[in-house]
Symmetry: C2
Subunit: 336 residues, 2 copies
Amino acid sequence: VEAAAKRLGYRRNSLAGSMVTGRTQTIGFIAYDIEDPFFARALRGVVDAARQAGFEVVIANSDGRIEMEQAAVRVFDEKRVDGLVIAPVLEGPHDHLARLSTRGVPVVCLDRDLRGIAADTVLTDNVRAARAGVEYLIRKGHRRIALVTTDVPGEDLLAELSRAALDPPGESPMVARCLGYLSALRAAGLPAASSLMRNAPETRAEVAAITEALLGLVPPPTAVFSTNDVATIGAYEALQCSSLDFPREISLLGFDDAEWATLVQPKLSVIAQPAYDLGATATRRLLARMSGDLAPPQLLLLEGKLVERDSVVPPPSESPGAEKLTAPAPGLRIRG
Amino acid sequence: VEAAAKRLGYRRNSLAGSMVTGRTQTIGFIAYDIEDPFFARALRGVVDAARQAGFEVVIANSDGRIEMEQAAVRVFDEKRVDGLVIAPVLEGPHDHLARLSTRGVPVVCLDRDLRGIAADTVLTDNVRAARAGVEYLIRKGHRRIALVTTDVPGEDLLAELSRAALDPPGESPMVARCLGYLSALRAAGLPAASSLMRNAPETRAEVAAITEALLGLVPPPTAVFSTNDVATIGAYEALQCSSLDFPREISLLGFDDAEWATLVQPKLSVIAQPAYDLGATATRRLLARMSGDLAPPQLLLLEGKLVERDSVVPPPSESPGAEKLTAPAPGLRIRG
DNA sequence: CTGAAAGCGCTAACAG
DNA sequence: CTGTTAGCGCTTTCAG
């Protein structure tokens, strides 16, 4: 019988089966930006965890645009995925997600904390990780630490952050990391100078430009903390091209690890996220919901890890003794 | 009526529709390795082209493993995708793909040329691009050019390549690029020394190790051509750590561009692939097939582009005259 | 031109 | 325990 089936080129139509059972053994994954290595890595965690439980994963990419996300959710919904892992777009309405879970299709958020929807969420403890990173900079002796971030909405970064701080926890990973920066500064009794905090659209060139501007300050910062991959690339580029001696005169700490971090000179120190685990954990949570877990929504915070390499060193001393080292020796000075 | 529908939380069940029409307005994309920026980029091209024609894309990842690919194809098949773009695993049986297209679900191959299945294929003209790259190295004056590649099957690289050369066109991108290397050497009347050609499993550390070995040769090569992203990272690392002065004494040309290529010192010269176009072109071909194009299978070759940066310079001259430039001036030489 | 009915390929429930 | 039947929610066709 089965031989005949194979001979005739039979192929199961899982659509028909799904129509009657209402289940597809498939979960959806919507990445915020599939070109970001973070999501590619997280995806692996999702796929591995899902397959282990006998589920397939179908993937979509929102590109950070709410209408793409809505389209993806609609498609997945119509195709009757049994659950959804999503790195949601924070801006804009998200009733498309609420509707899904209302209808019994569990949703878990990854990487980004969507307030106002009762869904499990798993992400890196961004404020804590950022605070730890900036504390590390402070421990190394830095006092003027600049912040380079991208895509924080609003005109005034500091004002935006103050607003966000009153409404914890949550917000975008970028905002959370900025908050961590502020918190480390405050804990150390250091002032949060708005001139040292810059926000740019998420392109390498724009970040490089604002970093350059930062370096032109007098006195310039002695360290830069960049809150994501693009910000780090742009900042690295700017430091490398600047007249300052990087890393001796200016340190850099990035958020998110990358393959090239150990290829550049100096090797980049970073705060690494457990991307794979984030994906796997989110999926395990989803699987639990799909098999009937009715506990209240959970917020799962995984820890970032500080990876010390060579781009962070103590700042040059500002004592007169040290000054001599860079200034020409007195005997050679030309008098005016 | 529609208001009531929305009120009751109605959601279309596209499964039911697909059951009767047999069409899903969805195409599948199976990446070979979604963590490879090349595929992430190509995916964008696929998605854009598909959406333009009103199709959704569902994505899967084979991880280069045939059984994963088979599973993905089975799922897509059962879910009745209307077409499939795939970067296929070359080894192992591929009747799962043949069966699909036999049944009227068009398949187009991306990046990798699968002989033995009558499907459209779109990829970079790897042998030509590699040949152009190595010719560029030769034009710069290099004569001892090493080849660093990964994951070519078989024990003896040169033998494997000779075998592949008799059976053109096709094979894996790696093999094609090696063939391009050989072809450039031959055209210039340069010998193809098997000692200068190394193959490693696709990990950064292994590549770094074989590159180091290459650098230990006497005389060492004056240039290295690496055939993919991982090979390039490993080779770059090895060159940087070697006692040779990189790039003055040893040049590096990589295949595949990357964001970090302009961040490292020296900036990496590469052959860039039109990844986005590859994806978009493949999808346009697929769309044409889906709307009834019955022309014989096409092989579409897009061109790679040489991007000159700083990692390729002329080799140090071996003539006595040039030697003087690096040797201490005669008057200062200590006679012994 | 509008409305009812057939049926896509399965699964689950139920009768023999 | 095996075999038959109802029906999932749509689209398409055909009759009114």
